[in-house]
């Protein structure tokens, strides 16, 4: 088998702190999300041209931005939803840099945002989910101003854990939908939005930096949760056993924190993890021969195995944002705390 290569194609330094980056769907453009030293947000749009990056748009927003997503906007509008340091949720029109939606979503910083229902991904209404330091996970519908359509927060009196990451999944028809959230104490919780209940929860010992479903718009299949201590865990979330939960598999990916897990949009079994030491690791999940075993009439999932495909060290600082291009196989952009953004190309992904 030919090994995929991770090639750093273009690199650009900027004068603000980068937190996130996202490809603008159906284009060769991407947007970087970050914070200026004076506490304002930075929203820059770049385009890939023949051999270099062209900066198309520069916007400065009132507060530092932390995270963003296009996943809940339609292909025509391509509005970017962002969460910022003051807990505000904005939806921006990148053509003119004006907000089309705004609300005070949380009292504290929004650490993570995810969307579903737009871009032809997933069935049903376009919705956003935000996770914040205040411990709450809120689901938003941009058609409804000011109030979330669903809110999952700890009971009064319970201690509020910092929610670091959120992800949508299981959106295979217009009714079903679930949200997965990871907290700083290692809790991973899966909320069923239809029944408004906690579907499943577990603890992976260390703070959960990133959770992601392998695909949002299928009956939930796999979930990867990465942790502070360099490890990540892959759950086969197809088969739930009422006693043992989901089958899982743990792997050490990096020497430091695994900041992100990002599945390849073109192949759900391949994903990239990014590390605190500026490294990227590419993985492939191999299914077991039988994914389900039946014992005493109870189904239990069987975990597969992981294949370590490639790694590359891009920077000395944590890679905090990464996004695969939904349109071009193997193209990705990532940003690190060394105030540089990099366009990377992973080759031979179609031969794996």
């Amino acid at each position: 088998m030919e090994k995929p290569q991770i090639i750093s194609h273009m690199e650009k330094s900027v004068n603000y702190t980068l937190y996130d980056c996202k490809w603008i769907p159906r284009s060769a453009k991407f947007v970087t999300i970050g914070s200026h030293p004076r506490g304002t947000g930075a929203l820059h749009v770049y385009e890939i041209s023949h051999r270099d990056l062209i900066q198309l748009k520069v916007y400065e927003t009132p507060t530092s931005l932390k995270c963003g997503t296009f996943a809940a906007s339609s292909l025509q509008s391509r509005h970017l939803a962002t969460g910022d340091f003051k807990g505000q949720l904005y939806v921006w029109d990148l053509e003119n840099g004006k907000p089309v939606y705004q609300c005070d979503a949380h009292p504290e910083i929004i650490n993570a945002i995810d969307g579903v229902g737009g871009m032809g991904v997933g069935e049903g209404a376009p919705e956003l989910v935000t996770g914040s330091r205040d411990g709450a996970v809120k689901v938003w519908d941009v058609r409804q101003r000011d109030a979330p359509v669903a809110c999952m927060e700890p009971e009064d009196g319970e201690d509020r854990r910092d929610c670091w990451t959120v992800a949508f999944g299981d959106a295979y028809n217009s009714e079903e939908r679930c949200v997965c959230a990871g907290y700083d104490n290692g809790d991973v919780k899966m909320f069923d939005l239809r029944n408004m209940s906690v579907k499943w929860e577990t603890n992976i010992k260390n703070g959960v930096c990133s959770v992601e479903f392998d695909r949002k718009d299928i009956s939930m299949n796999k979930l990867v949760a990465s942790s502070l201590e360099g490890k990540f865990r892959v759950f086969d979330v197809r088969t739930h056993n009422s006693k043992t939960g989901f089958a899982s598999l743990e792997e050490k990916a990096h020497k430091s924190t695994v900041w992100l897990v990002k599945h390849l949009p073109q192949n759900r079994d391949i994903f990239m993890t990014t590390g605190g030491s500026g490294s990227l690791s590419l993985w492939k999940y191999d299914y077991p021969v039988k994914r389900v075993k039946v014992e005493d009439g109870v189904k239990t999932g069987v975990a597969g195995s992981l294949q370590y495909l490639q790694n590359a060290t891009l920077s000395t600082q944590p890679v905090c944002g990464m996004d695969w291009s939904p349109d071009k196989l193997g193209l990705a952009v990532c940003v690190a705390f060394d105030q540089a953004l990099r366009v990377i190309i992973v080759t031979k992904l179609n031969r794996i």
């Binding site: 750093s8 284009s27 409804q144 909320f191 906690v198 079994d269």
Partner: protein
């Protein structure tokens, strides 16, 4: 003693003592866990830093457990600057083509109005306390009725309770989900729909790979509900087959075959379903068809055998296990890269009774199987198989008769993989296609009778293989040495027997042992011996390359890898090795390393590699190479071998090239590009591969890549007309008008008779002119502030419409409609009239200024009685309503001088245009203007894209055109005209009537 004890305690690795940190101990240790611990201690450098010992330990661990996580090394990201220039260009060009494509798509998408029937907003809910409610499942403690509580028992309703139980149970396991099989495509733009369909198909493929056929079926159906493509229907048929829904599978196959008559996969799948439905006769028909097209298709053969068995005595059923192959077929449809591999892989399974990856499970008594652990090296060479099994006529005859598929299932290339294969459940090893070359070689080579290995040696070889597999390389190499000496003795004694190939296999295996145990020099010697016996042995070349690489003799290593690559383009190890070594060399000698270490490389890259070079033995410094021939190799022999190798390569090259050409003809440009790329890899000096690939890129709208290829071709051959012509076309598409013009001028310089280039040049020049004109016009208008928007739009619409029209004949309709909206009819439109006047003025102005490069077109244009640019002509032409209004078209055409027709029609020739022209010609004939009728048709035939459009003429259209020709032919007989019957016939041929 105590100090040591303390040391141990300090480390906290209780098992690792200092005496373990020793070469000998490491050599003898076979415990993976222990090795891991030793490596950890060594790396921590607590007991001192021993780089060589660390490497030794790592090597040992690699042998024991190649995928061990302690062996994972962090490597810096490769920058695209570090890549070889050709790879880099490919990468950047691919990316630029993609970004351009995206830009175009964006333009067409913007107007799409998206009215989605979105589900209602979720009713707001808050959930406090995010813990799993533990009480939920078990809390409903229904009060147990005490046995003596008779009153309660009277009230107890058994049916009710049973119902309750039934209701509760399914809730627990209602995981099977309902995925809607249809997607409403309402309000979607074409691009969006296409994208969605692609995504759904991807999901289907993924589900299929994960073994979830129901889900795969649902997603394929969704994809089909958006866009019906043969590929997704074909995949759905496979999913149906897996679910044993034979009737549905057959229906899907029927549909695919309606869309693509010759789809062999669909035929094969239909045959499988028909067989299961016991319609053996029909199944046989399908299978016969497949075998006619692909006589070596193993699955078809197998199925046919089964079907034929069934035909006389019905009712007996047999299961087919075809999981692996089909899995790949899915892949194949998604990535054409697999196709080639698939072709080779499929037939393989027939010859092997047990197509398992585990070589150990192959019965050792089977004479056809070479029972060494080196299935890879042994089986890749059909001759060695033959030598060990002369009694097996089946395998040897197929081997000689079929040049395409390898006679044996190929195993993954490295011996290390071999051991890991036992673990992998779904083996995805990419088979090397060396078999292909080897088989060719066999055909060319004069048959040397090969003798079977004597039993004794065979036994030694087997045991050596076992040692190798268990990682005892020293023992294994000892055994191989024994086998080799015995075989050599025998060869001396029995001069009539020829063991050369068996000997080569033994040497090759020993080389692998040497490589594993780090004995690089011996490995190189063994490889030399192998290459002496079998000059083009890829394995040996790769091994020698690795050995050189270990010894840091990168130049030699590079040579070997390159040679291996040349002999077998698919040898991934060779490719990886070459890239790796190239990187080292670049680090050592800077970016110009190739030139610095010139000579050798240049020769290497050429197809005519001389044998002498492969015999080069390492020199102490890579820069200074000493040549040393192996004592036994006579130069005569070497030349012979070289000739053979070249022949093999040539055959492969021609095969790939013809395959590529075939692909182009059938419109599969992506596949064709792959073939040509391989051609270029094999023989980078061949201009035709570049120009052909450029053509494919042009068709695929990857203009930058096309330009790049043409430039390469021009570098190789200055006077290549095709290359210049295609570069011109590509550059025109890219909007580099002046460069394109230069290219076309060059073409005409080289080949003054090239009509299409002339036409293109003319069209290009008018285009340049019209765009410059337009720009000026915009300026003027904005000064006057007279409908600035509309005129601003026009050039844009023109450009985009033209791009579209070029894209696809089928899409021409959109072009026809777009401008019509702006200009309702020719006579009513005052605006266009006024702009025409403006144009005229501008033209004269421009002519006065005298742009030299436009001279030709400005000279031609004034001959037109009423000035018309192709753009205006197009607008007028399209504005005619209804589309059958021949008289109106005729009026337009009358204003165009005959030799201007191709320019005016430019690249927008469609079947409608041809038919309309035919009608006009007919009307001329009716009014006895035979000459004009003939000339109109003659000139139209020179228009761009005419051939393509003529090819797509429908039957009714053809009849119309045919009638015109018939009346023209009649006119030749009866009246006096300036053309004769042969002219008519020639033109008729042009129109493909």
């Amino acid at each position: 003693m105590t100090a040591q004890m303390f040391g141990v305690d300090d480390r906290g690795d209780k098992d690792v003592t200092l005496d373990m940190l020793d070469y000998k101990y490491i050599d003898e240790c076979n415990n993976v866990k222990e090795m891991e611990r030793i490596l950890k201690v060594l790396r921590s450098a607590k007991d001192g830093y021993y780089p060589h010992l660390i490497r030794h330990c790592e090597n040992k661990l690699t042998n024991l457990d190649p995928k061990n996580k302690y062996l994972r090394k962090e490597s810096p990201a490769i920058s695209s600057r570090d890549l070889p220039s050709e790879d880099r260009d490919q990468l950047t060009n691919g990316l630029s083509d993609w970004s351009k494509e995206m830009k175009n798509e964006l333009k067409s998408e913007v107007n799409g109005v998206h009215e989605n029937n979105l589900p209602p907003i979720r009713s707001s809910k808050t959930m406090k306390g995010n813990r799993v409610k533990k009480g939920d499942v078990g809390s409903k403690k229904t009060e147990r009725i005490r046995s003596a509580d008779y009153k309660s028992w009277d009230k107890y309703d058994v049916d009710e309770e049973c119902k309750k139980v039934d209701e509760q149970n399914p809730v627990v396991h209602e995981t099977k989900t309902s995925i809607p099989h249809k997607v409403s495509a309402e309000g979607m733009t074409d691009e969006e729909r296409e994208m969605r369909a692609g995504r759904e198909k991807d999901k289907g493929n993924e589900a299929f790979k994960a073994g979830d056929f129901e889900e795969a079926l649902a997603y394929y159906s969704r994809s089909i509900s958006l866009i019906r493509t043969a590929a997704s229907i074909n995949n759905r048929a496979l999913a149906y087959l897996r679910l044993e829904r034979w009737e549905d599978a057959r229906m899907d196959c029927d549909q695919v075959l309606m869309m693509e008559e010759d789809n062999l996969k669909a035929k094969l799948r239909r045959a499988s379903s028909l067989k299961e439905m016991k319609m053996y006769q029909d199944a046989k028909l399908d299978l016969d068809f497949v075998l006619e097209k692909e006589p070596n298709n193993a699955r078809a053969k197998k199925l046919l055998a089964e079907v034929e068995e069934k035909i006389p005595k019905r009712g007996h059923r047999m299961e087919i296990s075809e999981v692996e192959e089909d899995e790949d077929e899915i892949n194949e449809e998604t990535s054409p890269a697999r196709e080639q591999i698939q072709q080779f892989q499929e037939p393989a399974s027939t010859q092997e009774p047990t197509p398992t990856e585990d070589s150990a499970s192959i019965p050792k008594s089977t004479p056809a199987q070479n029972p060494t652990p080196y299935q890879d090296s042994a089986t890749q060479d059909p001759r060695s198989t033959e030598s060990s099994s002369p009694a097996d006529p089946a395998s040897s005859s197929t081997a000689t008769s079929s040049p395409e598929p390898p006679p044996q299932k190929e195993f993954s290339s490295t011996a290390t993989n071999l051991s890991s294969n036992d673990q992998t459940t779904l083996p995805r090893c990419e088979p090397l296609t060396q078999g292909n070359i080897e088989v060719d070689a066999q055909e060319i080579e004069p048959e040397i009778p090969q003798s079977p290995l004597p039993m004794k040696i065979e036994a030694i070889k087997t045991s050596a293989g076992e040692f190798y597999r268990s990682g005892q390389y020293g023992e294994a190499s000892g055994k191989y040495t024994q086998a080799i000496t015995q075989l050599k003795m025998r060869m001396k004694k029995e001069s009539d027997c020829n063991y050369s190939h068996a000997l080569a296999v033994l040497f090759n295996n020993r080389a692998a042992c040497m490589l594993k145990s780090g004995n690089d020099k011996s490995c190189i010697q063994d490889c030399d011996s192998v290459l002496e016996l079998k000059p083009a042995d890829v394995k040996a070349l790769v091994r020698r390359g690795s050995a050189y690489e270990h010894m840091e003799k990168y130049v030699q290593a590079y040579n070997d890898f390159r040679q291996a690559q040349v002999a077998d383009w698919s040898a991934s190890q060779a490719q990886d090795g070459a890239n790796r070594v190239a990187k080292h060399l670049r680090d050592l000698h800077g970016p110009g390393w190739k030139d610095k270490l010139s000579g050798e490389f240049q020769k290497e890259l050429q197809p005519d590699v001389t044998r002498e070079q492969s015999n080069k033995v390492p020199a102490s410094k890579p820069k200074k190479k000493t040549e040393k021939k192996l004592p036994s190799t006579t130069s005569v022999k070497a030349e012979e071998m070289e000739a053979k190798r070249q022949k093999i390569r040539q055959d492969l090259f021609t095969k790939l090239k013809s395959e590529g050409n075939e692909m182009v003809r059938s419109g599969k440009y992506n596949e064709a590009v792959e073939r040509y790329t391989k051609c270029i890899n094999i023989c980078p000096e061949e201009v035709a591969s570049y120009t052909n690939r450029a053509l494919c890129f042009l068709k695929l709208k990857k203009d930058l890549s096309a330009v790049h290829d043409c430039t390469e071709a021009i570098k190789l051959d200055e006077g290549n007309v095709k290359a210049h012509f295609r570069r011109g076309q590509a550059r025109r598409n890219l909007g580099m008008m002046t460069d394109a013009e230069k290219d076309f001028v060059k073409v005409i310089e080289l080949d003054p008779k090239n009509r299409s280039a002339k036409n293109d040049l003319d069209a290009l020049r008018t285009e340049i002119k019209s765009t410059t004109k337009r720009k000026i016009e915009i300026e003027e208008v904005s000064e006057d502030e007279e409908e600035p928007e509309e005129s601003g739009k026009e050039p844009d619409a023109f450009v985009s419409s033209q791009v579209k029209a070029e894209e696809d004949v089928a899409r021409d309709e959109s072009w026809i409609q777009a401008p019509r909206d702006e200009l309702p009819s020719p006579c009513e439109d005052d605006d266009s009239g006024s702009s025409e006047v403006k144009n005229e003025q501008l033209d004269t102005e421009e002519g006065g200024k005298g742009k030299p490069q436009n001279e030709e077109s400005t000279l031609v244009l004034p001959e037109v009685p009423e000035k018309m640019t192709p753009y205006e002509f197009g607008n007028l032409w399209n504005s005619i309503q209804p589309k059958t209004h021949v008289a109106a078209y005729k009026i337009i055409l009358d204003k165009v001088s005959l030799d201007q027709i191709p320019v005016m029609v430019s690249n927008k020739t469609t079947d409608h245009v041809i038919v309309t022209f035919a009608h006009i010609a007919q009307s001329h004939i009716d009014s006895s203007e035979f000459d004009r009728a003939f000339l109109i048709l003659q000139h139209l035939a020179r228009a761009q894209r005419f051939d393509m459009a003529a090819m797509f003429l429908g039957q009714s259209d053809k009849n119309i055109v045919g009638e015109v020709f018939a009346s023209l032919a009649n006119s030749v007989e009866s009246k006096k005209v300036s053309f004769d019957i042969s002219d008519v016939n020639r033109l008729r041929a042009c129109y493909k009537i």
